[in-house]
């Protein structure tokens, strides 16, 4: 059970000259619409004191600003603040930023280059924007006199703007959303709070997984640092065996299933739903055609008999995806949309995509699925075959040809087509 925050809002020591000045939100049960939060969450912010001044790292959600400022005031004066660091500009971290900039008008703001566009939606004043320092090149670190903060560029974890901040003398990583989780416990530290391991994994799967390649890039930067303490923007501060959590990210970023196909082999997954067997016959014909091309492993799945999650795992590793759906009341059927709407959990950009299906009246499903696939940034090389009710032999032949062409696309052996725009109408 989440513990209510009953303490007065004062800062909590984290390391030498470093305090937690965040806020607890134990009653939250849903975060950003997509995440369930049985234990609420915390908005972690930190204050770092050096000989020549103070740095504030991240802020909190706007409606927790009073708590944040009270904790900050318990360890620092506003005129001591030299640097404000925003590792990520989403509103749960930038909510108190405009007010903090106003209270500390001498402070510079340190953000990644990618954060600049977002910042214009957070700060509106030209004067405030003139205090921005981009955390690359000569500005990749900031001095507090006897200690430095260094910035690690870790984009897409989980927004384009994300960065981490490293305090070398304390071996402390302010990691932003990386290594974070939605788990609120006033005891703050991972060796004191309740068991939050499920929240840690759940957070990775829903927030970081779509950016797996970027996670691996970030780990290349973080692992050599071997942090002695990790201070994330949500959830427990990791002071007991923090590198175990770094290793857990490495495990979570590994492919979930080993693919037995040879590394040179491409994989094509054909998913279908069929009411009367017509779309199923089209699926089988497409599969048969796709299998005629060497170097492609083709798999066929009836969506009506499976759960979404394992299919998402398969899709994450696949090279090509094909969806077959009948048209019901002008739309593709729900099992297809259920799967397609779950693909934001993984990276599908650049995979091959296609659709096909049987219909009774109008047959919109194929086009709607193709549009969705393009929206997910798959490449959709050709309009898929459709058949009214029972597919004829000729229509099944067209499905086989379509399957073969998809395999040829996958293997880069498709004959290039040249057409005149005038012929497109």
């Amino acid at each position: 059970m989440a513990l209510a925050d009953t303490r007065p809002p004062v800062a909590v020591p984290v390391a030498d000259g470093v305090h937690w000045i965040g806020a607890l939100d134990p009653g939250l049960r849903q975060f950003d619409i997509i995440l369930r939060t049985a234990n609420g969450t915390s908005y972690n912010a930190y204050c770092v004191r050096g000989r020549d001044g103070v740095a504030v790292i991240d802020t909190v959600k706007e409606n927790y600003a009073d708590t944040f400022f009270a904790r900050l005031e318990s360890v620092a004066r506003y005129d001591e603040i030299r640097a404000i660091v925003l590792n990520h500009l989403e509103p749960d971290h930038s909510g108190a930023l405009p007010e903090l900039m106003a209270r500390a008008p001498q402070a510079t703001l340190h953000i990644s280059a990618r954060a600049q566009a977002t910042l214009k939606g957070v700060l509106r004043g030209e004067e405030e924007l003139s205090r921005v320092r981009i955390t690359t090149g000569e500005q990749a670190s900031v001095s507090l006199g006897d200690r430095q903060l260094a910035f690690l560029q870790t984009p897409y974890l989980h927004w384009p703007d994300t960065q981490c901040t490293w305090l070398p003398d304390a071996c402390l990583l302010f990691s932003g959303d990386v290594f974070g989780c939605h788990f609120c416990d006033a005891r703050l530290f991972n060796d004191r709070v309740g068991d939050f391991r499920f929240s840690f994994d759940y957070y990775y799967q829903h927030i970081m997984r779509p950016f797996r390649e970027h996670v691996l890039n970030a780990l290349e930067l973080i692992e050599p640092l071997a942090p002695a303490l990790i201070a994330p923007a949500h959830g427990p501060i990791l002071r007991e065996a923090p590198c175990d959590y770094v290793r857990r990210y490495r495990q979570l970023a590994a492919p979930l299933l080993h693919n037995e196909a040879a590394t040179s082999e491409k994989t094509l997954l054909v998913f279908y739903v069929s009411a009367y067997g017509a779309t199923e016959r089209m699926a089988q014909a497409l599969r048969d055609g796709a299998e005629t091309v060497e170097g492609v492993r083709v798999s066929l799945y009836d969506l009506a008999g499976g759960e979404v999650a394992p299919f998402v795992d398969l899709i994450e590793e696949a090279d090509g995806l094909v969806f077959g759906s009948p048209t019901v009341n002008g739309d593709a059927v729900k099992p297809v949309w259920d799967l397609l709407s779950s693909l934001t959990l993984v990276n599908v950009k650049g995979k091959l995509g296609a659709a096909f299906g049987s219909y009774g009246w109008s047959g919109e499903a194929v086009g709607l699925i193709e549009d969705r696939l393009r929206g997910l940034k798959l490449r959709v090389p050709a309009a898929g075959p459709r058949a009214r009710l029972k597919p004829t032999d000729e229509e099944l032949r067209a499905c086989r040809d379509f399957g073969r062409d998809l395999s040829l696309h996958l293997t880069g052996r498709i004959e290039k087509r040249i057409i005149d725009m005038a012929a497109l109408g």
Binding site: A117, G350, R379, M421, L424, G425
Partner: protein, 95 residues
């Protein structure tokens, strides 16, 4: 009227088009994977990588330049809703 060949790498199709055509007009017709939003050069959704033949496109307008800069786009990126073909060979793919 001068013609140009625009190749969409993601779908393996080359289209012969009249000079003056904007990339998005062709992309939309052949179903290439270039997404678009406003179609007025403001939202940046249709950012497209010019793999080859950048000189065969009209120079970007001040507006397009600003949107590309705001989005930290590389030098080989154009907005498909703004970029007009002049002639020759152009190869593109979604950014």
């Amino acid at each position: 009227m001068p013609k140009a060949n625009v190749t969409f790498e993601d779908i393996g199709i080359t289209v012969t088009v009249p000079a003056g055509t904007r990339l998005i007009e062709v992309s939309e017709k052949v179903g290439a994977g270039i997404l678009y939003g406003c179609r007025e050069g403001e939202c940046g959704t249709c950012m497209t990588r010019i793999v080859q033949g950048a000189a065969n496109l009209a120079e970007p307008s001040v507006l397009e330049d600003r949107v590309l800069k705001d989005n930290l786009a590389g030098r080989d990126i154009r907005l498909a809703c703004q970029a007009q073909v002049l002639g020759g060979e152009i190869v593109v793919r979604p950014a």
